[in-house]
Symmetry: D2
Subunit: 342 residues, 4 copies
């Protein structure tokens, strides 16, 4: 069986990544692609790497007939996304890749995103899309909220540890190294090759990055009490990939065993042997996640590292995994492609 798919906001990187994944997906067919500013253009002109595909022309959202759409991916900017999704048929299955439905608490949304949420009912309905931890809810959800890519990486490092109570909840530091595609295709000076390449650029330091809202929500929920982590992201001169280096207090062996057990049956998560160090290059272009744990010469400290591809597992691959579940497919369908190296 083939499901008809719409991608709303197909002219950005996450939209294009969805098209890439669907291109070899055995049970999906792209029925509509939208991109307001690029409406009327062929996708192969917006993204030459997709020119070999026979794809619908980009249209405006208003032109899409949702009656034949089995599932819509919404890859629009936050704030826009909530308005668009609110206007869709109420039985339309949707996987949203924006930040609009990640936070359940309207006050938290307003705090991190600077204005009130316009669709709090949908916010309440949405299921948080970190597949490995919300699999059952996602299977039956109508609206799934894709996680932040940084938020996904940090949670893969920490959720099982917080749940198992093997680390000190008040001593968690996440130092993140992120590739530039996470910032999208937007025209900003700091994203120019001449500015970004060849160096390391910290940003949104000091507890100001919006993905902290997700960490706060999820970690506190698991712990049953407020958890506040420290988080410092750095923009790196590569296109794909996130590595988080997470500093925790706990026994390295216990930390490692907890993660190894938690992810033992996960198709996409691989925990390296204790002391193994993951790297972003080993997961680039794929939905796989590598997790490493190493001890320190200071007893009782451990470092957890997680590497994933921000556009695949951190965003569009995760969305596809969730869509598979929502459509009753095996969640790995179309996602087992190996990373591209070198």
């Amino acid at each position: 069986m083939t499901h008809s798919i719409a991608i709303l906001g197909a002219s950005g990187y996450t939209g294009a990544e969805l098209v890439r994944l669907i291109a070899t997906h055995p049970h999906m067919r792209i029925a509509a692609l939208t991109g307001d500013r690029k409406a009327g253009m062929a996708m192969g002109d917006v993204f030459p790497f997709l020119r070999h595909l026979d794809l619908p022309v980009l249209t405006r959202i208003e032109e899409v007939d949702f009656s034949g759409i089995d599932l819509a991916f919404c890859a629009l900017p936050h704030a826009t996304s909530q308005a668009v999704i609110a206007a869709l048929p109420r039985d339309q299955k949707v996987v949203d890749l924006s930040a609009d439905f990640r936070l359940r608490d309207p006050a938290e949304y307003e705090k991190w995103y600077g204005k009130p949420h316009s669709a709090p009912d949908l916010q309440a309905e949405a299921v948080y899309g970190l597949t490995e931890f919300y699999r059952d809810e996602i299977r039956t959800a109508r609206l799934v909220a894709g996680t932040g890519c940084n938020a996904a990486a940090g949670q893969y490092a920490l959720r099982p540890l917080i749940a198992a109570g093997v680390i000190d909840l008040d001593e968690i530091i996440i130092d993140l190294k992120a590739g530039v595609s996470g910032a999208g295709r937007s025209l900003k000076e700091n994203l120019l090759h001449a500015e970004l390449s060849g160096g390391t650029h910290p940003y949104s330091a000091g507890g100001t990055h919006r993905h902290l809202g997700e960490f706060d929500q999820e970690f506190s929920l698991i712990a049953g009490r407020p958890v506040r982590v420290q988080f410092t992201p750095h923009l790196m001169p590569f296109n794909r990939g996130i590595l988080v280096t997470v500093y925790v207090r706990g026994t390295p062996e216990e930390v490692h065993a907890t993660l190894a057990t938690a992810y033992a049956d996960e198709p996409f998560l691989h925990v390296l042997p204790l002391g193994g160090l993951p790297s972003t290059r080993a997961v680039g272009g794929s939905n796989f996640v590598h997790v490493g744990v190493t001890g320190d010469r200071i007893a009782g400290r451990a470092v957890v590292m997680v590497a994933l591809d921000n556009l695949t597992k951190g965003s569009s691959g995760q969305a596809m995994q969730n869509a598979n579940l929502m459509l009753g497919l095996d969640e790995t369908t179309g996602l087992m492609g190996a990373p591209v190296f070198p």
Copy 2:
């Protein structure tokens, strides 16, 4: 039906790329991986990006039982390759990725590779592996010789033009820009990140690059008289991709039409509209090839550009395409993955 595959020389980039392609190939299964210096190692330790796969441990070639192998890819260095293949069962289907069987004339081989060929009978038997032009012979071949990656790029630009007689055979200049993975995983100073990144490095200029042997052989064969092109390769600071900028004398419209017609039914070759400029980024990680033709303000001159991924279409993807044919499969099987961008 699933075919059992051996990869001889799996510890280099082309070997690893074959593993990547087979990972999602519906009709192939890796039965043996060899790598003399890394024998005994797990493939996931040699190439961490493959750690999610359940693969045989690397062995020495002598340990492989070829009786159950339907097809062997040989990704060994030239000179080694001819000795290894000569020792295989004479009915073993083989796709060789080295330079050993590209040139039919033993004298030419010795001229370009510096020593006599030790298996001239196999050299005579081998079919040149540029799929689009040797498809029928490949289908029934036992031994197929993968082309040079640069040689593939240049031939996609020129073969139909030479065959059609629409360009001046004495006025062909190929200026090539190549990513570094084509040089393999060898430890050479000029391949270090600190040396190579951030710049442009010409090499093997002046008619000394070995892939000229393939150009000479193939172009002369097509033309029915000796053809000698000028060829200047440049090493570029990226990992995958080749762009050839080919300067020819001919009518741009005629050049374009000739290529567009020649490749109209090819599943992997896409000719851009006249004036379109291909780029390596639009084909990276895939088996697709983009071909562009542009005129010049000087009448009677045209520039043909071809972009492909040296590791996929230029090497392992081509090998897979040929293997599909040799095994009676659709040649595109397992090769329709879209490029990875950004």
Copy 3:
């Protein structure tokens, strides 16, 4: 003696490069920096790499008191530049880095830049700034026009050869590989790291690049008859550097000897031994130029390669060299810094 310098348009890369060069220049002092959109900002905020310097705040041009300015560098966009320079005191020494005064013929300017020149008298007055070939005129000039960076690279390869009559004037092909800083700090999608890095991107092919106007003017002047070259530029994933690969017809030895003789006494130009291949990495961050000549297996053909840093020797370093001459200083003053490698 210290000369007071103004930099008009200091918020772009060429302006910042001028500041970098003046920072250690023993006889220059920056008296004024302008940048209309960034007026009021500290230079160290616009370019953090300059924060250690004690510099004037950016102002609007109207605020500059030119009475105390010994020489003004004008690093504004073309079209803007001609208006600004026309409004300066008529005895103000100016080195312009834009395209506005490179072409002597108003018709040629209009042809390549799309609108009529508004200051044809200044266009007639301006001296073309390729120092090695216009040294005497520059010394006494009031207004010097910096060359295009690509145009400089091509001319270093070809001027002596055309002058000496050792190559065929109708068979010249310039294949150019250029770093991205030549495109400036402008917000364009194709200049984003995510788009540009990791690949090769041809642009302005087919005889449409504006620097052809300079080639036409200069080469025809030297030859005493029209000369039209073929020119294909490629944008490369690095920030600084241009390599031109120039295909000519002539004896390699004669071509090499002609260039070696022409540049024997030049402080910044170095001709490699015959067969030597230059690379952009070996000149990055400096005013030096490396020139290589290699023969081909086809008799009577040679390839000339020139590597330079587009921002230094191709633009701001050249401007400084000319300014030195105009102020009666040794032309190498402040420019002998070695390239930065790795």
Copy 4:
């Protein structure tokens, strides 16, 4: 006055960086260059970026006549360095760039470098070369030990804070991002462009990196009690630059004020306004250091970031600064070149 300089081990990156710096140094002249494996070669062939300089041919150390050498830079590998320096005349001024004389305690040396020190008397004599903190001793020293590049970056972040008692000594985490030139010109698989580019690679995690020996020695000395920091280095895909992200417990304002005061008169260290984030690109190719302090949403925590160029301020520039002091010159001589950007 011009001082005659020898560079022992000039065929590596730090040696070449010294040549670069001396090229425009007004009071130094290179009298000898050694490189055992490259003895007999011209420096311009080993490092084409230096070909414009008139330099001595590389020789073996035994061939150097030290009687005329005012100061020798020793840029040899550790272990080799101690043997070479022990054999030099005992009044020869030496700046060593290796690890051999950084640690004062022979037991610590053996612990971190795996074998006993062969010249413990020299180890005792050597002055630790972090200029800003050992200036007076360096001025009169005969033998100065250059610091580790990572060790320099971490100490610039922490020394004043430890000395002032404004941070918790048991809660210091250094997360380091380092460019690849710090690993030298050695042929290692992980340093190949194809392996390293485009990703983030942690290494020597868990308290195993040798520069921890320097942190332990220096921080404990300042604090008057043992201090053990946590340190995780990551190899990054760029050639020059180190950024340390240092997590401390203390009031951000106090941390910032302490650093700002400590470095107020330092010619090369610049403390950004509170909340300012440094980047490696803003110091590349220079001896300058940018220091930033930012608070966190969690009260009592601060992040200190330091960016420097590992080859200049982290190694050869530091060595030059120390050599200037040892020769009675102003310590900034030849080191005020601005960073190269973009």
